[in-house]
Symmetry: C2
Subunit: 216 residues, 2 copies
């Protein structure tokens, strides 16, 4: 998702060392992507302006064009960046059994998913924001990131958890919704119920609540 910069490594810059230049490039690019991730998550694609992103990244709007071309490409880069982190944080360790008790393994996997949902509400926001409209952003999101993850999860649910094939969509969306919503609307939850869902004890409470609900 980062533009090929081999062409810009010209003779002039080669003297001072192409590595330093491309390092700075990547630093700036990364700052922009990070700011974009935050903004797109909180305000959605339409609610986010490239000027705001540049401002959060501590730079200017022109640089976004230079590094990414269009707002759409930047959005994809932000999504890539998010899913990269998600992969490391979640999917890799979700299928690793810890205990001899199958059901307790499953419960702990669900607890892990709830903890993840508290850490990365962005995932849920992105899913809801983009999942409700059939457009090319959704197409890209599914083929690039969602499908491989869903299929890995499906295998796990079929084999380790023993769900029936036709229940998979219900399990998947039920779990995702049950685990995530309370954190995704944290400001509302605070104001409406008086409790802060992002407090460590509350996260654990919710994790256990959902885990015991799904795996009795």
């Amino acid at each position: 998702m980062v533009r090929d910069d081999s062409k810009s490594e010209n003779a002039a810059s080669a003297k001072s060392g192409g590595t330093a230049r491309s390092k700075k490039r990547e630093e700036t690019s990364a700052r922009i992507v990070h700011a974009a991730r935050q903004s797109f998550a909180k305000r959605g694609f339409h609610g986010t302006s490239t000027r705001d992103i540049a401002s959060v990244a501590g730079t200017n709007q022109g640089l976004i064009t230079y590094h990414f071309g269009t707002k759409d490409v930047l959005w994809r880069a932000a999504a890539d960046n998010l899913f990269e982190e998600i992969g490391e944080r979640l999917f890799d360790r979700l299928t690793q059994p810890q205990s001899a008790d199958e059901r307790e393994n499953a419960r702990e996997s669900i607890r892990e998913f709830v903890r993840f949902s508290a850490e990365y509400p962005e995932f849920f926001w992105l899913m809801v924001d983009e999942g409700k409209n059939a457009d090319e952003r959704l197409d890209w999101l599914i083929s690039t990131h969602l499908r491989p993850r869903f299929e890995a999860l499906s295998d796990y649910m079929l084999n380790a958890l023993g769900y029936a094939e036709e229940d998979l969509p219900h399990v998947y969306y039920t779990l995702a919704g049950a685990a995530s919503l309370i954190f995704a609307v944290a400001p509302e939850c605070r104001q409406l119920t008086g409790i802060d869902p992002l407090k460590k004890e509350t996260v654990e409470r919710h994790a256990d609540f959902v885990a015991r609900l799904i795996i009795t």
Copy 2:
């Protein structure tokens, strides 16, 4: 939420009958509100332009200003309209017991809520869109619509379902998320899983799935 129009019922229009004029006013206003509900739900507050709303309503942008003043006021009117329908569709019949079996009553209430979520994904979209940012739209939404509903539901969950006070937020958001997400991201679900969540049988399947999950 409709602007007081008593002042515009002047002497000139009184001749042709104030009722006819105010009837037309309300029809136009209602068309705009209806279009606004659709657009705000699907695209969010920022992603929706008043011109698009006017176009869907079959009128022009100037009339929106005339009837509602600002985009923000129109958004409130759209939310009011949604919650009015929700009240009729859901909250009134949720607490009416049908069977002698307490657990089956609870299950049927949950099934009803799932069916409602399939019919009104707007509710979920609104909740997620506005619940993630602490701003004055959220304040208004909570104090005007969410709090009274949440307290009514809390009573029901405490008394009829026998949940503990400190579990209420977890029950509430778990149920809301579990019931709604699959319908809220219907296009994604179709493309990702191959099943259409809005098909009648699928709605019932999900309703039963969630109901049996929560009330074993």
